[in-house]
Symmetry: C2
Subunit: 129 residues, 2 copies
DNA sequence: CATAAGGGTTCCAGTAACAGGAAGGTCAAG
DNA sequence: CTTGACCTTCCTGTTACTGGAACCCTTATG
């Protein structure tokens, strides 16, 4: 299977797949013509990577997860630990975004949004509350 | 006032301030010795930028906001429009993170987290639900 | 057989928003 | 005069790719 087919099956772009090979996340063999030769197992890895990335795992976290994915003797606690750490990061980001949301929607609410130059949003941003 | 003092008053690092000059967000004059000379007005701009960045506005959004900040004839509706667009982006990110959170916490919940190799998290990521 | 379309390949540059660090100029104090 | 704290510019690295150029391979068609 060439990279185009692997791309279609995994949902990752060819560019991304080449990049993943570049950073040694995957190591597909080559055909005589130099084309990458993907097999079902490689595609599974790509799908795995796609899902993990979609869930916000960083490339390095994906590398760890992939190593555990391939290790038949892994302990599920190792995986759980990575996932839990990541979940906490997600929670932190949500909290931060909610703070931003509250502040910004408060400023917007106070703004008339008309043709007059007086603007509470800019005032709020400049620190003159 | 030198960059160190401007940094202390604005809360931005000297590195960041130099970068902002690089991309023409600010244009402080220079003393005879080549040092940047900041005045109160420059510091106000830096504080403004710091707050806007903290609220998640991109540099380009900040550039627009700064132009409006300096324009005495601006309409508050212009500012409101930028802020509302940004608020929607924040809401989108929150939704996305909440989806990720739900999926991941579901996977974690199913995982025993012990020494056995069986791991529902990896199963979930590989697509074999 | 020539060629054109639609794959594939590598390599280089750019993105966002800075941070780190090197090499060197400046200034005030002791 | 030297020390140390500033300041300067310039170069590199970060994250996870995307876009584009230049070029090779394969297959179908006139």
């Amino acid at each position: 299977m060439n990279i185009g087919e692997a791309s279609a099956q995994s949902g990752l772009s060819a560019k991304t797949i080449r990049y993943y090979e570049d950073i040694s996340l995957i190591t597909p063999p080559r055909d005589a013509n130099g084309y990458r030769a993907f097999h079902a197992q490689d595609v599974h890895k790509l799908i795995f990577l796609n899902r993990a990335r979609t869930l916000g795992f960083s490339i390095e976290e994906c590398r760890d997860l992939l190593a555990l994915y391939e290790d038949q003797n892994r302990a599920s606690s190792d995986v759980k630990h990575i996932a839990q750490t990541h979940l906490q990061q997600i929670e932190g980001k949500i909290t931060q975004l909610q703070d931003m949301h509250a502040t910004l929607s408060h400023l917007i609410k106070e703004c008339a949004g008309d043709n007059r130059p007086n603007c509470p949003i800019l005032k709020g941003l400049s620190g003159n509350k």
